[in-house]
């Protein structure tokens, strides 16, 4: 190597070190990583709560509650940061819980703020809580210390997610608020002394405001109508004595345009296992009951949502390519409520629980033959 090359390499190395700013980064043990943020409003001030895991060697992992008040959310966070010795690193926040009252006023601006903040990731799950935030956070910490369950596991797919919970994350809420053709529903919860939490269903947001509440069965239907969710181990109660388990589900949306009118046929196909039934019912009857119930419930849900001009099922989203931007602006108000909806349900019973059922199987004839012989 020439002497000149060494100079170049030296300059490169020095600039690499001095321009990188690596001394500003803090190690992981000097950062606090909150996992849950609670947001409420006290009179005119925003009140932010954070749950921070505190880990001390050779002791059980604990949760700590920190809170701060401020005129804006960022101000409240700044007030909160002053109370803590370490850096607060919002990048690990997994859940944001909002007061239901905020939802009634409209959470559009709050969600915008979260999207703007660089250190909040786009992926925390969002939920509303019905009760006082302070009690709620205390209750959560208490439950964790008693039971040690992962906090908010019911919203995480790998841990405790069920089909009757809507799964929404921050950027989806943002999309739901700002999209012309789709809305979003957010789970509504509260704490409970005995269990980890109470689940009340989901609030449907329109332009950031709660307009309607869905119960857990309606949420399940909503998830069934969306082809993406996994249906394995989903149980549907048909009436007081009958229950089926879904094995497979397929949904098709069939749109037909007649002038200004839009007809929509939702074709649902199910494969079932009978999991609970009275003995006198045979497969055909159960199948018919199931089909009728699904059809009725689905129509009811869609009508309910159409009445509120809110579309959490993605019905309008699927045909937005047929309309101009100007038409889309008022799509949910003018066109969506007038879509004629028809539901087609087709169910196949795969097995009836591997029981010997005289109403169904071929053993009947064989029994008769045997008796005749006797």
């Amino acid at each position: 190597m020439k002497r000149n090359d060494w100079k170049k390499i030296l300059i490169l190395l020095l600039s690499l070190i001095f321009l990188s700013g690596c001394w500003d980064s803090r190690d992981i043990n000097y950062r606090s990583t909150p996992i849950l943020m609670g947001l409420t409003k006290d009179e005119d001030l925003f009140h932010v709560y954070l749950i921070i895991p505190v880990s001390v060697v050779s002791e059980q992992r604990n949760l700590a509650k920190v809170d701060g008040k401020g005129i804006t959310i960022v101000d409240a966070l700044e007030q909160l940061k002053k109370k803590i010795e370490t850096t607060i690193d919002l990048e690990h926040i997994g859940f944001i819980v909002l007061d239901e009252e905020l939802g009634k006023e409209g959470i559009g601006k709050i969600i915008n703020t979260f999207m703007r903040m660089r250190d909040v990731p786009g992926t925390p799950a969002i939920a509303f809580t019905k009760e006082d935030m302070n009690t709620y956070i205390d209750q959560m910490i208490d439950t964790f210390q008693k039971v040690g369950v992962p906090i908010f596991g019911f919203l995480e797919k790998q841990i405790g997610w069920e089909i009757n919970t809507p799964e929404v994350i921050l950027w989806e809420v943002y999309r739901g608020i700002h999209s012309y053709t789709s809305d979003i529903s957010i789970p509504l919860i509260s704490s409970n002394k005995n269990l980890e939490m109470d689940y009340f269903g989901a609030s449907v947001l329109k332009d950031g405001k709660i307009v309607e509440t869905l119960d857990s069965i309606e949420v399940m239907l909503m998830n069934l109508l969306n082809n993406e969710e996994n249906v394995i181990k989903t149980f549907v109660t048909i009436d007081d004595t009958t229950n089926v388990e879904l094995v497979e589900r397929d949904v098709e949306y069939d749109y037909k345009f007649r002038g200004d009118e839009v007809d929509l046929t939702i074709r649902l196909e199910f494969v079932l296992i009978v999991s609970e039934a009275e003995d006198h019912l045979n497969d055909d009857k159960i199948q018919k009951m199931f089909e009728e119930k699904m059809k009725k419930d689905t129509l009811k849900l869609v009508k309910k949502l159409q009445g509120k001009h809110a579309d959490v099922l993605g019905i309008s989203n699927r045909i937005r390519k047929n309309y101009t931007n100007a038409e889309l602006k008022n799509f949910l108000e003018e066109i969506y409520p007038n879509i004629n909806i028809n539901v087609d349900v087709e169910a196949v019973i795969e097995n009836n629980g591997k029981l010997r059922n005289l109403n169904n199987d071929d053993f009947e004839d064989w029994d008769k033959e045997k008796q005749e012989q006797d």
Binding site: S20, C22, S25, D27, T33, S55, V56, D89
Partner: protein
Amino acid sequence: MPAMDFMNEIENLKQKNKDLQMKSIMINDTAYDVIGFESLVDFSATWEIVEALIGNQENKSQGSKGFQSKNITWNKIEINKQMQALYEGKLIIWDRAEEASLIVDPVSQPLYRSIEVPVNESVIYGAKDAFTENSQQNIGLLRSKYQSKDFEVMTTQHGKRNRRFSFLILKGTTDQKMVEMIKKKIEDYPNEIKQVKDIHVAFGFSKFSLITRVSSTELPENAMEYIEQGKIVFFMDGYPFALVMFNTVFDVFKQPSDSNYLSVFVYSLYMLRIVGIMIAVLLPGLYVALITINPEMLKVQLALSITESRQFVPYPAFIEIIIMLLLIELITEAAVRLPISISNTIGVVGGIILGQAIVEASLVSGVLIIIIAATTIANGIVINFENGITLRLMKYIIVIFSALFGILGHVIGLLVLCSYIARITSFGVPYVRWKKEGIQSENQ
């Protein structure tokens, strides 16, 4: 008088070298002197040969018929040549009367160890012989593996030491021009070639290269395979390894004796080695990047347990990992230097006491010990110790980049290393090349 000259010369030599022996022998009334270095020649065993030879000579002169070697002729050989022959371990028989001499190959002293099992490269299923310091023996090992007229050996000698370099040529496979060129480079090198480093210099390769271009192998099986692949293999006298030129990046995780296993297992073995190389190079850097700059990429649970284990560690992750890596390098080097009986102790001290105690003293985190252990173990998975050294050095580059720029730097470091490896060539033949057989330079 040449005779007097010769005797004077020998007397002179005898004064300076006490191990030079000159013994007189009378056969059929003729006096002969037998001269040779005692340290190189086993006289008592050679005696029989000498007697037989001279007796043969007498018989020949009497005109009798029978088996006899025609090569042995008495000559008036130049003094210098005779001296040189003495130093090469030959025996000189001097006929006083006719002033002629005979250069004989004697039974030499057992100066070379016998062929043993490989020490540095262990094989499970595969040939278990290994090269020794004697390059004649090494060539013999290869000849026994390729018994054909296509196998040729080209030899050159270099320097004051008169060191022999033997090139192995397989007709039709080996690039003869390349061998000639390499041979010429060695012959033209003005300084003494003492170690492999000097060969690098003679070939004009950079001294600061991270990747060895003249790699060594101890196994004749490997060497034979490399010859058949068209790589150039040569021996340096006294160096108990075959030197291989034009090795490729695939030689880092492929070994000829692998093929003695089930094919499926061989492919999984390759995968395992690639994963091992990745771990050895990338894991320490990843630790630094994730701990210092990008902790948001960890899962919460993992982040918390790392935080827990790093609770009382007083310095940044970069310093922490450098301390640990340094300790491991020290242990490795100490284990090489020390006698085998003591080096086991080093393992215990290093592994158990240091690993356990250093965590309890909160000097490094427990997670780091796992990382370092994984790195050190994975480092040993590559074929050939030389490649392991390369990996050992490369991981520091990645660590430095990661400490500066986090995950981004980690990727940049990997990119820098990849482009460095990609531009390595020896005599125009790239190091990263797909072609399995033969060598082809970029310029062709």
